[in-house]
Structures are given as C-alpha cells and as structure tokens.
C-alpha cells in the first residue's frame, strides 16, 4: 500500500530457499530503480487519484507522461555541477 511504501513483500510460495531470496532481491532492486528513475510515479499517481478523487478520469500511461513532460517543459529543475 502506498501509505506505507517499501518493497512489496513476496509471498514465500516456493517454500523459501535460494530462489525466493533471489526473487525478493530482484524485486527490491526493481522497486528501488523504478522509484529513483521515476518509472513508478505513474502507479503512484493513479493510486492517488483512486484514493482521493475516485470520480476523476484516470489517464493512460501515455497521457500521463505527455502531461508530465509538458509540465517539465514549463518548469525545469536544475541539475548540479
């Protein structure tokens, strides 16, 4: 749940062992990388809309990124030296 962010715990369906550890590690890395790069922002936005504005229309991924880039076009953020 987005109210308590963090790597989603993986149910240990395959009885634990090396495979489960690898899978859990992979999920954690994927969660982190998509978080830092902003890939998971769309899911976060959709969750926010569903929660707070249940009647609002949910944009598609394509629409979301178009809007986001348009917003970035109008209000750029600096990068450091």
């Amino acid at each position: 749940m987005s109210s308590l962010p963090g790597p989603v715990p993986v149910p240990v369906a395959d009885g634990g062992g090396v495979l489960a550890v690898v899978r859990r590690g992979w999920r954690a890395v994927a969660w982190y990388v998509t978080g830092v790069l902003g890939e998971s922002d769309y899911a976060r936005y959709v969750a926010h809309l569903r929660r707070v504005h249940p009647d609002a229309e949910v944009p598609t991924v394509r629409e979301y990124w178009r809007e986001r880039h348009a917003a970035q076009d109008a209000n750029p953020g600096a990068r450091c030296c």
Partner: protein, 753 residues
C-alpha cells in the same frame, strides 16, 4: 503496544495509530562499542594518511578515514544539529503530505528520495575540483573534503532543506527575499543568475578540453545525442513509461559507442572527420545548449537525464570498488611547494584561500542550496528524514570527491603536471613537456618524452600534454585503476574513454538543464518588468523562449570561447572564478540559514551555520581581494590586465605568453571581464552578508522575530526516520498496516482533500 522507557508515541488523532515516535533511549553498550571501534579505525587511518610518507601511503587509507569520519559525524554531529536546530516534529505534516497531488507533491520513500536527491546534487564538480587541487599535495585536499563536508557542506544542505520543507518547498531566492527583504532578495537573484552563467561556461570548458583533438572522445560523446533522441522517441511513441527498460538500452548503446569510437578513431576518415579544434568543439557545445533549451523536454533532456543517473551511480560504485581492490600507491607529496608558494601551474594562488575555492563542490557547494530548496522538500514524508536526505546526501558526494582525489594523487607526478600545466608552459610537445616537468623538482625519476607519448598511446589519444580541466586527468587515473584489475593494459584505452564519456555526460546534462533554468529566470525577470515585456512571462510563447535561449547561450558561450582562446590557459584563469561563484552562493545560503536560526531564538546554536558562514566569507573575500588587488600578474586579474596594457601601449608585439598583438588584446579583454566579474561577485555577497547581519542584530534586540514558516498542519501518516527502521518504528508501521486492513475506507486521503 506498550512503548519502552524513553520512547514516546505521538498521536494526532485518538482513532489513528501514532504518527511520530520520539525515541530518547540511550545507546546500547553494543552500539557504543561499535561506534568506538569505528572511531578508532578512522583515527588510525587518519594517522596513516597524515604521518606515513613516500610509497607506503595507500589509497585505501583515505577511503577508510573518510567513511569512518562520515559515520561518526552523521551519528553525532548531525544528531546534535537535529536536536538543537532542526527540532523535527513528525506530528507536523510535510508539504508532501499536506499538499499531496500525486505529482510534484508526493510522499516518497526516504531511501528512494535519497537516491533522487543524490542524483540531483552530484555532477562533475566533485570530480574535477579535487583533481586540480591535487597539485597542492594530498593532505590539504583530503582534510578539506572531509572536514569541510562534515562542518560546512552537509550543514548547509541539511538546513536549507529544512527551511524549504517548512516553507512549502520554496526556492532559495524566494526564501532570501522573504526572510531578508527586497535588497537581499535582489542581490540573491542577480547572484544566482550570474553564477549559473559562469558555472555553465566553466563546465563546458572542461568538456572542450577533454574532447578537442580527440576523435575517439568526440565520436563517442557525440553519439550520446542520437542515443538520447532515440530513447526520447521510444518513450514517447513506442513504450511510454518504460523508463528503466529504455535506460538499460541506452547504457548498452553508450558502451557500444565508446567501443566504436576506438574503431572510428583508427580509420583515416574517422580521424580526419572527428579531430576538432577546441574552438569548433566550443561552438558545437554552444549550439547543443541552445537546441537543448528550445527542444521539447521529452526529446532530449529527459532521456539524457535517465542515462546520466544510471551512469553516475554505476561509475561511482565502480570507482569505489576499484580504489579498494587496486589500492593504488600514492605518488603525490603530502604538501607540495605549490601550496605554500602559490605558483602552481594548474591554478595560481596559495593554499589559503585557493584550495577551498578549487575543491568547492566536494566539500561545500552553494549550488546544492538551489537543489535542496524546491524539489526534495515536496517529496519528503517526515521532517526527521531530512538528516538522511540532506546531511547524508552531501556526505555521499564528499565520498565521491575523495575517490576523485585518490585517483588524481595516484598518477605519476610528472604525468599529472604534463596534463595540467597550460600549453604555454609545456610547449605542447613530448620533449618540451618532459623538460618542463623535470624542472619542477618533483619526486620520482625524471620523465622522458617517450614516456609521455607512451602514456598517451596507452589511452588511445594523440597527446596528453596540457589536457587541462581535470576531466582527462581523472579519466587517465581511472583507466589505470580500473585497468589494473579489469582487462589490464588492453582495456586501458576503453576505460579512459568510458570516464571521459561519463564526465561529458554529466556536464552536458548540467549544461542543458542549466541553460533552460537560466532561460526561465531571464524570461521571468523580463516579464516582471511589465509593459510590452510582460509577454515573456508566458512560457508557451516560442519567440520569447528563443530570444532568452539565445541570450543565455550567448552569455556563457562568450565566456567559454574566451576561455578556449585564452593565451594564458583558460582553466587556470576561469576555474577560480567558478569556485568563487559557487562558494559565494554557499555564503548566501548559509547567511539565510543563520538569519532564520537567530530569528527563531536559537541564538545559542547559531554557531552551527555561522561558523561555516564566517569561514566561507573569509575564503571568498580573500580570494576576491587577491583576484582584484594582487600585484602579482598570475594571480590578480587587474595586475595582468595593466601589465598587458602597458606593454601594448609601449608598442610591444609580444608579451609574456602572448606571442602576437591579437593574443595581447585577448588577454587585455579577458582579464577585464574576469576582473569585473570578481568585483560584481564580491559586491553581491557583501550585500547579502551585511543585510543578514542587520536582520540578525534586529532579531537579537527584539529577542527573536517571526519567520515565514508555514503554520502547523497535523500529520496523519507514519514513516521511519533513518535508513534502517528501529524496532519501535517497525511495530508502529505494523499498526498502520493493520489499521488500513481493518478500515480500507480510511486510506490516507491527503489533508487537503
């Protein structure tokens, strides 16, 4: 749950689980012993760095001393700042919670935000500065990078982040105006703009020096543009939102571009086509900056940013692992004669103040104040996390700077000065360069022209003589360190160009984003003048965007071209200006923080931001004074200016390193501009400092003054503070999960809704 002794659980609503934990438990004996052990290990490493001499100094000592100091500083000094100044209140909603809109305001996991924040503050600065500072020996640089970060840089980043978080994520310029009035605000705004321009110019100059006369570098760095365009199109039309997928594709293409650069540079047509004069490279970069500023973000800027983030983290990890595995022996002396006499070839001036000006980004970077205000405060979940993000983020950057320093000091000293002395000193040929560096009185066997050429051949370059700017030196050092355990001599050329590529990637990302930001600052300012200029305020007005982009690129492009054609060497005259500008911005940020701390009535603890502020003012003012008033031509811009003018008036046709009258005129023009900029910078920072002093005196007399902090809003969520959750944090988090499982309709709806 029954809370243990010294742990207080704070609730804002009796129906909700706790939103904050005030944990005042004393340290356990185990923890005390751990920190004592870390402290002892760090102290031993420091002693080895400080007292062992000669070939026995190992690069890994620096890493251990740095990391040990960081851990102790983070646990104790940052904690003191937290208790006494920041006083975080986790029952207060942060802007992210209060104004949550799922877009720019969104509570973000602290670990993800740490990565975000670090990617935004880290760039080429902490890599280049320490490399140049290595001319003074390893000890001064090491001390300042570590101590400066702990007592100044991290404090600035942490406290600016705190101010902005309590002010809905307002920007630095806005906060200066709010807290210090319109004069301070105006000085701040002009200062930020001028500083942006000089920073863009100097960073671009570093890239020019790395790419000129290097067909391999030009090809592989040039390829980043089509790669970014491809990524942009891919993300827009083929698979929207697949950011990590496209980044991986991009990184693979980048590595291919580096390899292909070697093939292309080996062909006659490739060498002919991509061997470019410095002036040509400079024009290409200016053109690139303009295009990046007017093209839509999705096409070029956004994909480059993804690549840059990926490469940044990857390369820094690679370098850290490299230093620890290769454990290079240190070649530089502890303190060189240049540090005392101030006559170093990479940059002029004595240790105080120019070491502190040159290292800038790795220890204290004013630019971070721009980043710390704005984005990160709108994403942080709890005030108590600011220590990790602000203080911790800067510690990580300082660590990067230490790596860069270790890389530079493990290069053979003769080669180091061959690369970093301007062409007017080395003569540009292996033979003359060898004669020059052998005359410097360096330790180790003298260099021969054949050795210098051999070093260039090893990294696939035509020449490594006078490749100033820091980037080629770092790349050379990295290629030796990484080559020593990954691929050996055969891969050294690959690693060299890999390093050049990632440095150029960082810098070009800064250049395109910076040009855009400066363009918006300009159009905002013009628009606020009113009248027919009001139209500039409309960001969708393309003509306005083009005009402002041309002006901004023209400004930094002019300084860049001036540096590229400077008969005195470019980097050694411009880099101090860059450092002064950056430290000046830090002075403005620290002045703001000090004012707020005094206004809030924490006078007893005002030394925490005031000590770095006073130090920084001493450094920038001394440096500015010397750059303006020094009678020594290599140091003082005006002394140099007057010397050339007099020579020109006396009808001489060559003077010093200028061989003809055109070069003499160039020196006269350049020194005039550099001298004027020095005066402008000094006046701006003095204005801000005096206004800050005045506001502080007013606040002390009144026994505190109101600040522009936003009123409290009650928080209705919970998040852990540190990198790792404590036992009570885990228990409270479990209570929230259980609460939402029982009341799915109560899922946090944002307090604004």
């Amino acid at each position: 749950m029954r809370s243990p002794e010294h742990v207080e659980l704070v609730r804002t609503d009796p129906d909700l689980p706790p939103v904050a934990i005030i944990d005042r438990r004393p340290m356990t004996t185990g923890k005390k012993l751990t920190f004592a052990a870390i402290g002892i290990v760090a102290a031993v490493a420091w002693a080895l760095v400080a007292f062992v001499r000669g070939e026995d100094v190992n690069g890994a000592y620096f890493v251990v001393a740095a990391v040990g100091t960081y851990i102790v500083a983070y646990r104790f000094y940052a904690r003191l700042i937290e208790y006494k100044v920041v006083r975080p209140r986790d029952d207060r909603a942060t802007p992210a919670e209060e104004h949550e809109n799922g877009r720019d305001f969104a509570p973000t996991d602290r670990r993800v935000l740490f990565g975000h924040h670090f990617a935004a503050i880290a760039g080429a600065g902490p890599l280049v500065g320490p490399v140049l500072a290595a001319q003074m020996g390893y000890l001064p640089g090491t001390l300042w990078i570590i101590i400066g970060a702990v007592l100044a840089g991290c404090v600035q980043d942490y406290l600016v982040l705190w101010l902005s978080t309590r002010r809905r994520g307002r920007s630095l310029g806005q906060m200066i105006r709010d807290e210090m009035g319109s004069i301070g605000g105006a000085a701040g705004l002009i200062g930020v703009f001028v500083i942006m321009i000089i920073i863009l110019a100097v960073l671009a100059l570093v890239v020019v020096n790395a790419l000129a006369e290097s067909p391999w570098g030009v090809f592989s760095v040039g390829m980043t543009i089509p790669i970014a365009l491809f990524m942009g199109v891919y993300l827009r039309f083929l698979r929207p939102g697949r950011v990590s997928e496209v980044s991986v594709i991009g990184v693979v293409l980048l590595v291919l571009a580096i390899v292909a650069g070697g093939w292309v540079a080996d062909t006659t047509w490739g060498a002919e086509m991509f061997t470019l004069e410095p002036v040509t490279v400079a024009w290409l970069i200016v053109g690139y900056g303009f295009l990046a500023s007017v093209l839509p973000v999705w096409l070029l800027l956004a994909p480059r940013d993804y690549l840059s983030t990926f490469m940044k983290v990857g390369t820094i990890v690679l370098l850290a692992v490299g230093v620890l595995i290769a454990q290079p022996a240190v070649q530089a002396p502890a303190v060189s004669s240049f540090a005392i006499e101030g006559n170093g070839p990479a940059f002029a001036g004595a240790l105080f103040p120019f070491l502190f000006i040159t290292i800038a980004c790795g220890a204290l970077s004013g630019f971070h104040a721009l980043i710390s205000s704005g984005t990160s405060p709108k994403l942080v979940e709890k005030e108590s996390q600011l220590r990790l993000i602000g203080y911790g983020g800067m510690l990580t950057e300082s660590f990067v700077a230490i790596m860069a320093l270790v890389t530079a000091i493990s290069i053979d000293q003769h080669l180091y000065f061959t690369m970093n002395a301007p062409a007017t000193l080395t003569g540009g040929e292996p033979g003359t360069a060898a004669d020059y560096v052998n005359g410097l009185g360096l330790a180790g066997p003298p260099a021969t022209g054949a050795e210098i050429q051999g070093a260039a051949d090893a990294v696939g370059e035509e020449s490594i003589i006078s490749r100033t700017g820091g980037a080629p030196t770092l790349a050379f050092g990295m290629s030796q360190i990484l080559g020593s355990f990954l691929g050996g001599a055969s891969l050294q050329a690959f690693w060299y160009h890999f390093a050049i590529m990632f440095e150029a990637l960082f810098i070009l990302t800064t250049v395109d984003a910076g040009t855009r930001v400066a363009r918006f600052m300009l159009s905002d300012t013009l628009g606020n003048l009113g009248g027919p200029l009001r139209r500039f305020r409309d960001p969708s007005w393309r003509v306005g965007a083009w005009i402002c982009s041309v002006v901004v690129c023209g400004l930094w492009g002019a300084i860049l071209l001036m540096g590229v054609t400077d008969p005195l060497g470019g980097i050694n005259t411009l880099f101090p200006l860059f450092g002064i500008a950056n430290q000046l911005l830090a002075a403005m940020a620290l002045a703001l923080v000090t004012v707020v701390v005094v206004k809030k009535g924490y006078l007893k603890w005002a030394w925490i931001p005031a000590v770095p502020l006073v130090w920084d003012l001493a450094v920038t003012m001394t440096a500015s004074y010397q750059k303006i008033f020094s009678p020594e031509p290599t140091l003082g811009y005006w002394a140099q200016h007057n010397a050339f003018r007099e020579a020109r008036a006396a009808g001489e046709t060559s003077f010093g390193t200028a061989t003809d009258t055109t070069a003499m005129d160039a020196v006269i023009r350049n020194t005039f501009l550099q001298g004027t900029l020095s005066i402008v910078f000094a006046v701006l920072v003095l204005t801000v400092a005096l206004v800050a002093l005045w506001v502080c005196v007013k606040a002390i007399r009144a026994g505190g003054l109101p600040t522009t902090e936003e009123p409290d809003t009650k928080s209705a969520m919970f998040a852990p503070s540190g990198l790792v959750s404590t036992d009570t944090e885990r228990e409270v988090a479990a209570q929230w999960t259980a609460y939402y499982d029982e009341n799915p309709d109560k899922l946090r709806a944002g307090t604004h809704a």
